[in-house]
Amino acid sequence: MDAIKTEKLTKYYGKARGIEDLDLTVEQGEFFGFIGPNGAGKSTTIRTLLGLIAPTGGRAEVLGRAVGKEKEAILREIGYLPAEAVFWSGMKVKEILKLSAELRGRDCAAEARRLCERLELDPNRKVEELSFGNRKKVGIVCALQSEPKLLILDEPTGGLDPLMQRAFFDILRERNRQGTTVFLSSHVLSEVQRNCSRAAVIRAGRIIACDSVEALAQTNAKRVSFRGSAELSDLPGIRDLRTEGESVSFLYTGELNALLGRLAAGKLRDLSLTEPDLEEIFLHYYEKGGEAE
């Protein structure tokens, strides 16, 4: 049974496109990354899976249950962290956590206490007194305290300091090892690279790539950086050329010998050839629509 499965899932807001013919499969136990630029359809996909909005077409299943028809049963197994956690003013953190647990018909007090300690969250503070990051922590505890089978996290680290981000991902990895499926929607590609086994890239409402993170990152492009001068103007295969004084950097996908010939003919004081980082590769997906190199 898949944790998430969508087939030709489509959502239009009037005439505006949300997502279109989206096919996505997330297996149980996976730590899955969901990447895309703003307005690509990440939140629309998540909101459809959670039953907040109804799809215009296609179908979706979460943990083997049809989205829309078995909404409560699905939500019972899901912990959801929205990109911006908003709560009712006037309530204390512990009251929010208790309310969330009661809405699930569960007593999660012990787990909530453990999570608050690990995330250094004071349960006696009022939510309107909390910073954005601390409100995020309340959302994290709400999502995790019922120990759900599937965690859906939308931009989870926004507002968290690096130490808290580390503590948060430690908890997620522990949960994942215990069998929890994690669906992580993020702009921060490094956290997807570090934590996810597979990922999908969404652009303009469509999945343009879905594979293991290693496979997605695989490319024959090299990041070339040098200081000095060389004649490169008509050399094919150069992308993302950045020049700053004597420093030159670009992504190269052309013939390596041709490049070395040009560089040897120039005057170089320094040279490095490295693998491009994931960020660069995904920028390429975002800009070009996903033709892999």
Partner: protein
């Protein structure tokens, strides 16, 4: 019951404020009655010679010098308008406030059906309206006892019952409207209550618009009619019940299929 308790907690302060203000004003009116009674002759003459204004507030049919006549007019203005505004405001915001305050995402991603959310919020709304009316009834009754007047039980009970039913009808209609709203609800709620109140005034003044009394809940709260008939108008109540059911049906039909925006 979790959402019901949560709503009652959130609505506690507005309920105390509205209930306190309406009860205070009503008590003040009752405490003024002994003084008014002494000037009964002049007051009746003044109030019965104000043309359309007299008809609009039903003062042409009531004896302002009797407690029931005096209370029917004062009650109409204070409890009628105050209670209607409270019920309409409370109901119009009941469903859409979650989207306006952006708490809908939190609430609706828990394993609770939209129908359950609707039912518990409706129960909270009706309980708040009931609590407001019970408190006001007790304060008004206590004030009458304190001023030493003989209580016109039948008229007093019927008037409070009529205004309670008016608030329930308005609450149900505005609850239905709330399901369709996303942002501002206060203006809509107050607007509906004010529109229905003015509709009743127009119906009182204009013979050709008399039928409007069947459309507005203020129509079955006419103090003059209640005092003279000794009962509530069943026909108008039936129309009111129809509007209330229509409001609830709209909420239960639309809200479960509504796209919840962030």
């Amino acid at each position: 019951m979790t959402i019901l308790k949560h709503e009652l907690r959130r609505g506690r302060n507005p309920l105390l404020i509205w209930g306190g203000v309406i009860a205070f004003l009503l008590a003040v009116c009752v405490f003024l009655f002994p003084e008014m009674k002494k000037q009964m002759g002049e007051i009746n003459e003044v109030f019965s010679s104000m043309g359309s204004f007299t008809a609009a507030f039903g003062m042409d049919k009531l004896n302002f010098g009797s407690l029931e006549g005096y209370y029917a007019i004062e009650c109409g203005n204070v409890l009628g308008l105050g209670g209607a505004f409270f019920a309409a405001l409370c109901a119009a915001g009941m469903l859409c406030k979650e989207e306006k305050e952006r708490t809908a995402e939190f609430l609706l991603t828990h394993p609770v059906s939209r129908t359950r959310v609707l039912t518990e919020k409706l129960a909270a709304l009706l309980l708040q309206v009931t609590a407001l009316n019970a408190a006001i009834y007790a304060v008004a009754l206590g004030s009458m006892v304190l001023v030493g007047e003989e209580i016109p039980w039948r008229a007093f009970n019927l008037m409070h019952l009529a205004y309670f039913l008016l608030q329930l009808e308005l609450a149900c209609v505005c609850f239905g409207v709330s399901a369709f709203l996303r942002k501002g609800s206060a203006g809509v709620g107050l607007g509906i209550a004010a529109l229905l109140y003015v509709t009743n005034l127009i119906a009182n003044i204009t013979e050709s618009a008399r039928f409007l009394k069947h459309l507005t809940p203020f129509g079955y709260c006419d103090g003059a009619e209640i005092v003279s008939d000794g009962s509530l108008n069943g026909g108008k109540l039936a129309v009111g019940l129809g509007f209330a059911l229509l409001g609830l049906a709209a909420a239960y039909w639309y809200y479960p299929r509504k796209d919840i925006c962030a």
